[in-house]
Amino acid sequence: MSWLSKVRNSISSLAKRDTPDTLWMKCPGCSEMLFVSDFEANLSVCPNCQHHGRIGAKARFDLLLDPGYTVLATPKVPENPLNFRDTKKYTDRLKAARAANPYPDALTNAFGTINSHKAVLGVQDFTFMGGSMGMAVGAAFVCGAEKAIAENCAYVIVTAAGGARMQEGILSLMQMPKTTVATRRLAAAGLPYIVVLTDPTTGGVTASYAMLGDVQIAEPGALIGFAGQRVIQDTIREKLPDGFQRAEYLHAHGMVDMVVHRKDLKGTLATLLGYLERKEVA
């Protein structure tokens, strides 16, 4: 089994709602056995080692937005534009991902308030085809930025992606300039654009909108980078440094402003918005 499917399997078991109180899991950080219900009640952070587990869009919205937010519709895009199939048809992969997820693609936006500060919050969900950026993610990003401009508020994006969606070929690569057009428009409107990097954020997502925030926040321990570790390993043929491409490493190398524990994330965002937003609070 590849590391990716290992990760996917562990996620799908964690992402289940209404988990029975008796279900156990092994913390990927410290190998401690934890009750899944305790883990989830603790924002999917290990109480023992503070390992930050991956959480989906719905959990993020609930964590960061005040109650009463609105989930924005995911824009429609051409499906399977290259008529792509590898070992499976891309349309079948999409169908399977949709069956397992509450939202139709990997990036979903919601409009609401963060401790009363108006904001559009976009969340990328790693469980949806590894969070990968295809046309739907690009279109959702543009849509989120446009909504923020229309509402004269900040756009906050929570990233999680293995990179571009290869099944869309070059069209996925084109989402890099496309999303960058959107960040430029936010900047031209003088609106804050804040990036929260979560585990993992790599490839073309990192090399576009995920690195262009006015403020860059990372969750503890998150893997963040351009190239995959295996690719780098194959290139240099030596051991990678300790903590390489982790949030703390990026902080030490000047690539993010701060590493923020999940329990402090909402408060941190609210504070930043208080400083950066133009209009008084909603």
Partner: protein
């Protein structure tokens, strides 16, 4: 001496027959000129026929051909009066991306592109065309300078991808690429990009978010190498040819998807068989596109570029 690719084997055999006959003819008074002429004609026909229907994987090999003209060749053959400009003013000079001032048939331009190198020492010097953050930050600096002085930007793309290494990550490879793409989009001057060899992923788009994107006839442009896609999606190393086809990496495919605006034809048998002719065609095509953009105001240029990338793949 042209080195032949695997699929050119019949042509290579014919060419070596012709060479043999020539040697024979030189040392004797046999009249085999007619036979040589006939074989040469046949070889030229075979070459044209082969190159007219290259598969995506064959095109990938042509795009990576060791003798394919690179940036330094185009600077020599398509531009004049080149003044190289080095360094990102922050960390260092990255020879995987070369840039500078140049004349293109009477037009002052800023030329920027990847350089892969043509032999072992130069390949090492240019890091095989795989740039590090300082390469992209130099590109950003030169684009800013071009904007300031009203010089159109011409970028020539030829990279397997940005360098995947520890020091590149340490110095913010992702941020450098993102900012370089942003710098293209912000330019108040015309920008024409040409994919001349391999357009490899983020390392390519970083200098290709242009008003007009051209592609040489046998160049390839993709989000990941066919080998990479094979190993990730098919979980085997030997599906690269299938991956190249499935990902639609050729100029002909990408024109249909409106990712590129026009195809620049190559000489029969590919750019490496006649770099000078390729450079001439390329210079004419770029000049034509620059002229078409020359009447636009800075804000119109920015707008056109933004709309171009927003529109790709929309319903």
């Amino acid at each position: 001496m042209i080195s032949f690719l695997d699929f050119e084997k019949p042509i290579a055999e014919l060419e070596s027959r012709i060479a043999e006959l020539r040697t024979t003819a030189d040392g004797s008074d046999l009249d085999i000129g007619g036979e040589i002429g006939r074989l040469e004609k046949k070889s030229a026909q075979m070459l044209a026929a082969t190159y007219a229907k290259l598969t995506p994987w064959q095109k990938t090999q042509v795009a990576r051909h060791p003798q394919r003209p690179h940036l330094v060749d185009y600077i020599r053959l398509a531009f004049t009066d080149f003044v190289p400009l080095a360094g990102d003013r922050t960390f260092g000079e990255d020879a995987a991306i070369i840039g500078g001032l140049a004349m293109l048939d009477g037009r002052k331009v800023m030329v920027i592109g990847h350089e892969k190198g043509h032999d072992t020492p130069s390949r090492i010097k240019h890091n095989f065309g795989s740039a590090k953050p300082e390469g992209y930050r130099k590109a950003i600096r030169l684009m800013g300078m071009a904007s300031k002085f009203g010089l159109p930007v011409v970028s020539l793309v030829d990279t397997a991808g940005a360098f995947p290494g520890v020091e590149a990550e340490e110095r913010g490879q992702a941020e450098a690429i993102a900012r370089s793409t942003e710098a293209c989009l912000a330019l108040g001057v015309p920008m024409v990009a040409v994919i001349v060899g391999e357009g490899g992923s983020g390392g390519a788009i970083a200098i290709a978010a242009a008003n007009t994107v051209l592609m040489l006839e046998h160049a390839v442009y993709s989000v990941i190498s066919p080998e990479g896609a094979s190993s990730i999606l098919w979980r085997t190393a030997d599906k690269a040819a299938d991956a190249a086809t499935a990902m639609k990496v050729t100029a002909q495919d990408l024109l249909g998807l409106k990712v590129i605006d026009a195809i620049v034809p190559e000489p029969s048998g590919g750019a490496h068989r006649d770099p000078a002719a390729t450079a001439r065609t390329l210079a004419e095509a770029v000049a034509r596109e620059l002229d078409a953009l020359s009447g636009c105001s800075p804000s119109e240029l920015v707008r056109q570029r933004e709309e171009r990338f927003l529109a790709i793949g929309s319903l």
